[in-house]
């Protein structure tokens, strides 16, 4: 029997109680290694370890090894909780009985920290101390919190079907019909009322404990985020501060989309707590750049542009002069495709006039004019008569329809297009009403609106936070699944683009909170009360959208749905953006050509 010196030193270090990662894992390895050697003596105790003073049954070795690994991991993540209490007021069984000792350590460490933080961990307590109590049915508990953990993608979602749950935990409700396929980037969402929280993070006795722990960390992460938001809402800033730091640690243990989402939300919460509000995009050209990268990595903006263009094209069917008013021109990426479609229209292209509206630039360069110039060059290339005007406005509500030189409808057909612009007006009282009345004064044949499909404008902060967490988790998930190699700049910029939105939703208030997304139902009722009636986006738009999505890597995850004549693009079952089209209800029914 060869003694490996490494094994001995590992074991020795461990016996001195340092419990450092390397040592205990080498001990674990050495324990596993010994399974291959025939070291048993008559008492069933492992001989090598017995020499060192530990009594471990050889038959028990694998189990003990796994528990040691788990202990090491839990100790690593539990540092913030403070494990000093272990040294003072806990009772450990004789450490020479290694398996019993490990179990009692696990019990203590996973024992009761603040109950509203980590009720989840008490489950492993029950698992390790009462293996006989493995229940095959998950238990159902009443739960007064409202978040739906299934919404969180990645590792945090869907632990495997629970085999037992902690009877003392009163804060979790466990769905009995949990599927075990939830490990992947599956972020299927349901409404927050359906509280299927896979809170009881347990494993069947054969599952390796390592896996459970990272799941645990994921679930803890979500819980901590929620708890922090709740603390912020209750103005308990000290607690919120402590929790935010904890989130940072937990987020580091995650990978992929979950980690990024958690990091952005943690940053936003920190800003809210410390009142370091992000400066409202001083540099709109920077936002434009970010949006360009977002445009390229994922299909959301392309979907928006293509479906809106299709609606506009159909509304322009036989007009000879057309005028499009774009509420957010940015880089003008929407218009080349429309111009090309108009150029190839049977019967020849109409005269195309574009009015672009944009925010003021800090260095006074005329960004709008430059975009107009580019579009004019394109128009000349493909043979369309083109005219462009740019308007700089801080807010759409500042716009007066008289400024736009609207020509009478017999001469020119007008379309108004707004991609992710209308929700900003909800920050200002009276803003949206003013803009809608301006739109009505423009007498458009069609109004196309693209908005995020989420409710980030409720009065309650915690609700908004929860909604935003679900929504952006889905978005980040779809970015992960988009097949873009991770170190790509496009991906990083797209995430930054979304991160700024997250920051605005969570950290800002009042006039500064401009990302006031509302779902389709809200917009529909608003438009209808203002005197618009919906225009159904036809099957052509649906076809184009479906084909476009099929072209994207990860195309299987994207879904196009039609709802009330509007098209929604979503990731798996969660709709994320909606395109809708409107016309004036009292409009020229006869003039529709």
């Amino acid at each position: 029997m060869k003694r490996d010196h490494r094994e001995i030193s590992g074991a020795t270090d461990y016996s001195s109680g340092s419990g450092s990662r390397v040592d205990s894992s080498s001990l674990a390895n050495s324990i596993k290694g010994k399974l291959w050697e025939d070291d048993q003596d008559a008492g069933g105790m492992d001989e090598l370890l017995a020499v060192l003073g530990y009594k471990v049954r050889s038959s028990d070795m694998a189990n003990v090894a796994q528990k040691l690994e788990m202990l090491e991991m839990v100790m690593g993540t539990a540092q913030e909780d403070g494990i000093s209490h272990l040294s003072s007021d806990t009772v450990h069984r004789n450490p020479s009985d290694l398996s019993g000792w490990v179990q009692s350590m696990l019990t203590e460490l996973n024992g009761p920290p603040t109950p509203n933080l980590d009720p989840v961990l008490t489950t492993s307590d029950s698992n390790s101390s009462n293996p006989q109590q493995n229940q095959s049915q998950p238990r159902v508990f009443s739960d007064d919190s409202e978040y739906d953990l299934r919404a969180i993608p990645g590792v945090a979602a869907y632990p495997p079907p629970k085999s037992d749950s902690d009877p003392e935990s009163t804060r979790k409700r466990v769905k009995t019909s949990m599927s075990s396929s939830g490990y992947g980037p599956d972020s299927s969402f349901s409404s927050p009322q359906e509280n299927g929280i896979p809170g009881a993070v347990t494993e069947s006795s054969t599952r390796p404990i390592v896996l459970v722990d990272s799941q645990e960390a994921g679930v803890r992460l979500v819980h901590t985020l929620m708890a922090c938001a709740e603390a912020v809402q209750q103005d308990n800033l000290k607690l919120a501060d402590a929790l935010v730091k904890h989130i940072g640690l937990l987020a580091a243990s995650q990978t992929g989309a979950m980690r990024k989402v958690a990091t952005y939300f943690a940053e936003a919460l920190a800003r809210r707590i410390y009142r370091i509000f992000p400066q409202d995009s001083l540099d709109p050209s920077y936002t434009d750049i970010l949006q360009m990268h977002f445009y390229e990595t994922c299909p959301y903006l392309k979907f928006a542009h293509f479906t809106a263009n299709q609606a506009i094209l159909e509304a322009f069917a036989t007009a000879n002069r057309v005028h499009v008013i774009d509420f957010g021109l940015k880089q003008g990426m929407q218009w080349p495709a429309l111009m090309q479609a108009l150029a190839l229209r049977p019967g020849g292209p109409p005269a195309f006039r574009l009015t672009g509206i944009g925010p003021p630039q800090p260095d006074n360069t005329d960004a709008l004019q430059q975009v107009g110039w580019k579009l004019a060059q394109l128009a000349e290339t493909i043979g369309i008569e083109f005219e462009f005007r740019g308007f700089v406005a801080n807010s759409l509500a500042d716009l007066e329809p008289e400024m736009l030189d609207i020509r009478p409808p017999e001469v020119e057909v007008v379309a108004v297009n707004s991609v992710f612009e209308l929700h900003r007006l909800l920050a200002r009282p009276g803003g949206i009403e003013k803009v809608v009345s301006s739109i009505k004064a423009m007498k458009p044949r069609i109004l196309t609106v693209v908005e995020q499909e989420a409710n980030h404008n409720g009065p309650d902060f915690l609700d908004r936070f929860t909604e935003a967490l679900h929504y952006y988790s889905s978005l980040f998930d779809s970015l992960e699944g988009s097949g873009v190699a991770p170190p790509s700049q496009d991906l990083a910029m797209s995430e930054l683009y979304l991160g700024r939105q997250i920051c605005n939703v969570v950290a800002c208030e009042g006039m500064e909170r401009v990302e006031r997304h509302e779902p389709l139902s809200e917009w529909m009722s608003r438009m209808e009360t203002e005197g618009f009636s919906p225009v159904h986006l036809g099957s052509n738009a649906y076809k184009q959208a479906s084909m476009l999505l099929a072209l994207f890597a990860g195309g299987d995850g994207y879904r196009v749905e039609e709802k009330n004549g509007c098209l929604m693009l979503g990731w798996h079952t969660r709709p994320l953006i909606t395109t809708s089209a409107w016309r004036l209800a009292t409009a020229e029914t006869g003039a529709k050509s």
């Binding site: 390229e296 495709a337 111009m339 090309q340 493909i382 043979g383």
Partner: protein, 163 residues
């Protein structure tokens, strides 16, 4: 096609050496009939066309001409009128095929339906136009955009699809 061409060359030589005393029969050499050659090449698929371009100089010149690629793009669909001037202005049919039509057709391979051929073409044309806009859109508004790899909104077509 290439094989036949070489074979016919060989046969020609053979005939010339063997049939010296016989009366010269009219030979058919495809390269003498460029119009027939064009008609044949027009009906090839993209890959074969590229192979044909490496046969000889005449074939290469013909295969490079844009009109052949036009047939490839609009094979199953009657092209909208006036599309030619637009496509030529935006970069030509070969570019349209290689950049848009081929990836679109390949990606949609599984999901395709025959009735969507026209919509595929429409989509390819739209993407082609967007690509042109990005490539030749004139000077950018600020220096930050230039300098890095210029954004191409067709990049997603180049990336492998994990289907």
């Amino acid at each position: 096609m290439a094989l036949n061409h070489r074979r016919s060359c060989y046969r020609q030589d053979h005939h010339e050496t063997v049939g010296e005393n016989k009366e010269k029969r009219p030979k058919f050499f495809i390269n003498d009939h460029a119009d027939i050659l064009i008609e044949i090449l027009k009906r090839l698929d993209g890959r074969s066309l590229c192979i044909a371009a490496s046969v000889c100089r005449l074939w290469c010149n013909i295969a490079r001409s844009d009109s052949i690629w036009e047939n490839l793009c609009f094979r199953h669909v009657s092209p909208p009128p006036s599309v030619r001037s637009v496509v030529l202005a935006l970069g030509g049919y070969k570019r349209l095929y290689m950049g848009c039509v081929r990836p679109v057709r390949r990606r949609l391979g599984r999901a395709r339906r025959a009735s969507w051929a026209r919509d595929e073409v429409q989509l390819s044309l739209s993407l082609f136009c967007v690509d042109y806009y990005e490539r030749f859109g004139g000077s950018n508004s600020n220096g930050r955009l230039v300098g890095e790899s210029s954004p191409s909104s067709l990049m997603f077509l180049c990336k492998p699809v994990n289907v």
